[in-house]
Every structure is written in structure tokens, then in C-alpha cells.
Symmetry: none
Subunit: 205 residues, 4 copies
DNA sequence: CATGAATGAGGCTTCATTCAT
DNA sequence: GATGAATGAAGCCTCATTCAT
């Protein structure tokens, strides 16, 4: 079973990691428009090598973002905070921070290209990590009851990229908006949400 | 003799409108990356015709987006609602709705490219239209005091594009998030906002 | 017979002259690449008007250059200098000066495009004007016997544009080269010229 | 490990040479306006291939013309002729011959576009090769003292393109003009040259 | 298996010329 | 007859992807 994907040769493995590293860097800095050639060069490999691993630029994007997401998930899971409301806030900040600092991550969530199936996995993972925190917070009446983890993720990602868009904005402007969003999650204000079916892709359930 | 800019010939006027219509459609659908040639074809004219009116793709973008913005401003100004809180909510909904349905509009507000000066004007107009409503709402204690029109616009634009990004999301998913945002503006929840200087370009003052 | 070309209406005549004037200016300044639209605008007429008179850019070029040439011919004929050698030198300077200051004129003589037939006329006129001066100078032993008016014209035109080509050249650098050329025409140095048939187009006979 | 720039792959090398050959041909025939796409097609490669080697049309021009120039310089240096006057004449003939047969070379020396810095190098190389020959000739009283290598090059290039401009001119018409120019260089005729500062770019010193 | 060369569609833009008003 | 709008081929260049070495 483990034999199905026999481990890569040492150098191949190393190349793979260098590619992913370079792509992470490039996508983070320049967004998904980062050129494939540039990434290969940064990684110190030929384009061919890159394409052998990732038959399509989309595949590379998926892989990189998958990694970024898994990392995020790990960090979310590592949150050690007894108070459910504060735990959720911490998670929210974490997700927002990562999106804020990674243009590619934002592009991924925003991209209106049909790379759907690949991205679904990422979102699902993230949702799975956020859900327990959200439910706990809701049970503790720290957060309104009518929102889903999908809602949370969507709104966080959207708001997180606000500062870098403006050339003279302070780079942490997004923290401002994060506070507003969190305030909007308070049960004290809970206006009735319209009953639109949340997107399957986002909510995952 | 007639007006400041003598009116275009009938057919030219018609073509101009067809170009603008096609561009509006294309930018709305595909974002600002929509190709010039495709727009010309959609409009049923040669590229040359398009370039006669808009010597640069940027000019076309500016014209189309300016029109969209002015329209928005007009609609915002036309809001007739005595209650300040509801008036602001109506304006927010309006802006969000238009951004939600127009990918170009979003790109314009979000673009990280230095087409600054042209787009700044648009933002300023919008801000000028929103400011009185926001102030009135704040005076009436319907909205927290610590946010600016810039904040409002930035967060609205960001949130509004949420639904269209997901292929199986109901097209009005953004309404859900709008409610959350508006709730976050309530003075009842007002957590202290971090003191980051809001961006000059957005806030305008 | 005179009725064949009935005189243009007054305004048409004026337009024609404005076009020629604008084109002269533009070609002189920017060379033959000067755009037709720009010329029409400078002339204060529509492109259509221009094209009515000159069905082709080539025709416009021909007309303008013809005019410039006729002017040159007139000036050459007006040279009033009893000494044959000095008369020829004056003519040479005149032709060179005009070529030096008119990029279009140079382009015309240099252009390797097949507008042959139109330009032939010009050259012939110029040659007809230069020939008597040259012959007189040769009879007076002021100039070597083995060159033709075609030779003279060709070499003058070539040398005249030298200065403007170099950005930091003094604008009258060509005068330097003109002297060298004239010295080369002296009978005192006359090396045997190779017997290549001079070009029909240039020599005209 | 091998050389400074490791040699290209066999096929790449072949393509590179085909590109350079096609460009040399095209520039020689049509001047520097020759289209990039056409050159690529002539070379039997895609445009992309061409642009991989020469990121800019200017780079292609520079490379091709640099090669042509270096070749010329080598040939000039290889002149083996004890008599200083005849040596200079041979060099002049060589430069003229090459310019006569290569419209691109002429455009390079003549171009009024500010691609200065690249082309300057070429001119300097050529001047450096001509200078010793000129000085020797001047020391031997075979050539007038008041001209510089810059003068020589400028006038040669200008005169060399005379024949190809006329469609029915014998292709070696320039040889005729070369003789005239050389005669003009004779110390026996030396009229006083006007004291215009020769262009720095041309004279080099 | 890695390399990087090759490909070519597609993007923005210019300009001589035609044609509806 | 004048106008200037319309046309579209052609120019330079980029970039995801394929393929020979």
C-alpha cells in the first residue's frame, strides 16, 4: 500500500521541495500570476522538472496552497486557550494574518477560475479545524448561533487582504477590519441573517 | 456652438455605447483582464475603433468604471430614508450589490497595480457620497463612532465579492455577509479598534 | 486645354495649401514616417480631405517633395556668380543645406521603396538645374571632367544629413563634409573613376 | 567547468545561428525595420525562440550589428599593405563595401533613434581600428591633416549607401563615389575646413 | 530523470486607408 | 465636397506548456 507511491529519489525529493519553496515565495509575493519560468529559476531547476511534478500551473498552485493550508490547520489546532471565545478569535486572527501576508493565498480563495476541485480540499481542511472552535464559542454564547465555519472563513479571507491593496496603507490595516468582523459575530447584535444556502464548496456539509 | 463637446455623429455615438456596453459586460464578467480585442469583437467593431475612443486599455477601464461609480453615487444620493441607520444600511447594500455583480468594479477597488491616480478619483467620489450618511448614522448612535467612510467602503467591497467566487454559491450569498458587517458596525459591540492610521487614499481626509 | 483641370474652389485651394504646408513641416521634422492623421490635424482638415487630394501617402510625399525641389531649383537658377567654380560651389551648398534641414527630403532620396516614378521627376529637375553650372565649371577647369550632375547630387544628398544623425554633433557639421566633397571634385586630384554606368534614374540621360 | 559560458546545446546553437543568419539577411535587405516575426519565420523558428535569445528587438539588432562590425574590424586589422596611403584606401573601401551591401549597417550608423549606447560601442570599435591607419597616412602626407577618423567613417557610411538606393543603378556605383571621397582627402587640395567641433560620439576623442 | 530550448496563441497598440454621414 | 469614424493587418512582446537532448 505504501508501495503505490514509492518514495522519490533523494535528489528528486529535494528538487520537489525547492520547487514548492520557490513557488510559495513567488506566489506569496506576486500572487498567482507569478511566472512558471521564474519559479523554476528561483528553485534552481529547469521548467521541465517542475512540469514533471506538476503537469499544470494549477497543480503547482494547488500543491503550494495545500501546504500553506495544512500549516495553517496545524497552527489552528495548536491554539491553547481555555476560553472558547478567545480561542476562536485567536484562530480568526491566525487565518487572517496568513491570508494578509500571502497574496497567492488570497488569489486562490478569490480566483474565479474553475480549479474548483483542488481547492475544495483545502477549504474543507480549514473548515474542519475551525468548526470545533466555532461550535465551542457558540455553545459558550461568545458567538452568534447563526453562522457557519464557512461564513467565518469566507469573511476572514476577504477582509484580510484589505491593507496591502492601498499603497499608502499601514500594513496592518487589516487588523482593524478583523476587529470589526469579530464584533459582527457577537450574539449581542445578531440581526436575522438571510436564509441563503451557504455554498457547498465552502461549507463542506 | 451647441454644447461644450459637440455631439458625436449618430453612428459614432452608437458605436461608443456599444463599446462601453461590451466593456462593461466583459469587465463585469471577467475582471479587468478582459482582452481588448474580445471587447471590440463583442461590440461588433474593429479594434481601431475602440482605440480611437480609448487610446489605452487603461482609458477604457477608467471610463467604464467611472460610469459605474457615478451611477452608484447617484443611487446612493437618491436614497430617501429618514432613519439614519437604515439609510446607511441601504447605501451599504447598494454598494455591495454593485460590487458583487461586477468583477471589474472589485478589481478596480482592489487592484494592486499603480493605476492609482485614475482610480483614486472614483474612490473619492464614493467616499464623498457615503460620508454624510455615515456621519448622520453615527450622530444618531446607530453606528459606532470609530470607523471612517474609508473603512466602510473597503470592507464592503471586500465582502461583496464573496459569493461570486464560488461556483455553486447562491448568487446572493453576499447579503448574508453584509448583515454580519453591518452588525459589526453596531455601537453596542464596539471593541477598541487598533489605532492604525487609515490609508490616505481611502479615507480622503 | 486649360479647362481640363478646372481651378479648385477657393476653400479647396486653401485646404490644399494648408495640407501641403503641414506635410512639409511634418516630413521635414519627423521624416517620411510622419503620420497622415497628424498631418491632417496640423492642417486643420479631416483625413478624408487629405485623401481626396492625395489618394496615397506616397502621392502626398511626392507632391511635397516636388514643391521643395522646385523651390530648390528656383534658388539654384537664381545664383548670380560670374566665377563658374564658385557658382557650382554655391549651388552645392544650397542643395546640401536644404537636404540637411529637411529629414523628409533625405528620406526621399534614400528611401528604398518603389515610389520610383514619382521621384524621378524631382531628380531630373534638379539635375537639369545643376548641369549647366557643372559644365561651366568643368569648362573652366574648376572641376574634374569625369563626374556627372547625377554624381554630384547623389553625393551631396548623402553627405548633407550627416550632422543631424548624431545627437551631440554641432548642427552644421555637414558643412565640414561639404568642403571635403568639393575638394574631391578638384581636377588637381582626379584619380581615375571606375567606369560604372551611372544610374539612369539619377543621371536622367 | 568548460568555458565561461557553457556551450549551447547542439540544436540551440543551430537555431541561434539560423536566427542570426536570418536577421542578418533581413536587416541587410530591409533595414532595421525588418519585422521580428518575419525574421523568426525566415529562420524557421517560433517567435518565442527568438525572444529567448534576444529579449528585445534592440538586442537582436545589437547582436547582429555587433557581429558585422567586429568582422569589419577584423578585416581592417588584417590589411597588409606597407604603403600608408594605400592601406587607408583599402580600409575605406572595405568599410564602404560592407555598408553598401548592408542596409542595416547603414541604419545603425545613421539611425536617429536614441539607441545610442549600444551603437556607440560599435562606432568606437570601428574608429579605433581606423585611427592608426589614418594617422599613418597623415604622417606620410598621403592624407590631409585636418580630418579625424570620425569624419572618415561618417562620410564613408553616407556615401556607401548611394548605389543600392536606386533600383537600376549598377550595384558597385558606390566605388565611384569612394574614389571621389578619397580624392577629397588628398593634402593637395585641402581647403580650410570649417571649425565645427566634430561630434564626440563619432570622433571618440 | 533533468534540462532548458521551442512553441505559438494571445495581448496591447499603431497606422494607412476606406466609407458613412 | 468635407469630415472624422471605422477598419484590420501588422508590429512587438509574454507565457503556459511541450519536447528534443
Amino acid at each position: 500500500m505504501a508501495a503505490t507511491e514509492r518514495p522519490l529519489r533523494a535528489d528528486a525529493e529535494r528538487n520537489l521541495q525547492r520547487i514548492v519553496a520557490a513557488a510559495t515565495e513567488a506566489f506569496g509575493r506576486d500572487g498567482l500570476e507569478a511566472g512558471v519560468d521564474a519559479i523554476a529559476k528561483e528553485a534552481g531547476v529547469g521548467v521541465g522538472t517542475l512540469y514533471r511534478r506538476f503537469p499544470t500551473k494549477g497543480d503547482l498552485i494547488a500543491a503550494v496552497m495545500q501546504a500553506r493550508t495544512s500549516e495553517t490547520v496545524r497552527l489552528v489546532r495548536a491554539i491553547d486557550e481555555p476560553d472558547p471565545g478567545r480561542a476562536l478569535a485567536a484562530a480568526a486572527r491566525l487565518v487572517a494574518e496568513r491570508t494578509a501576508s500571502d497574496r497567492g493565498l488570497f488569489d486562490t480563495l478569490v480566483a474565479e477560475l474553475p480549479c474548483a476541485q483542488t481547492l475544495d480540499g483545502m477549504r474543507s481542511e480549514l473548515l474542519a479545524a475551525l468548526e470545533p472552535l466555532l461550535e465551542a464559542a457558540q455553545d459558550a454564547d461568545a458567538v452568534r448561533d447563526d453562522i457557519t465555519a464557512g461564513d467565518l472563513l469566507a469573511i476572514l479571507a476577504s477582509v484580510a487582504r484589505i491593507s496591502p491593496r492601498f499603497w499608502d496603507a499601514p500594513p496592518d490595516l487589516w487588523t482593524r477590519y478583523l476587529v470589526l468582523v469579530l464584533d459582527g459575530l457577537s450574539p449581542r447584535v445578531a440581526s436575522p441573517l438571510p436564509h441563503v444556502a451557504p455554498p457547498r464548496r465552502l461549507a463542506g456539509r
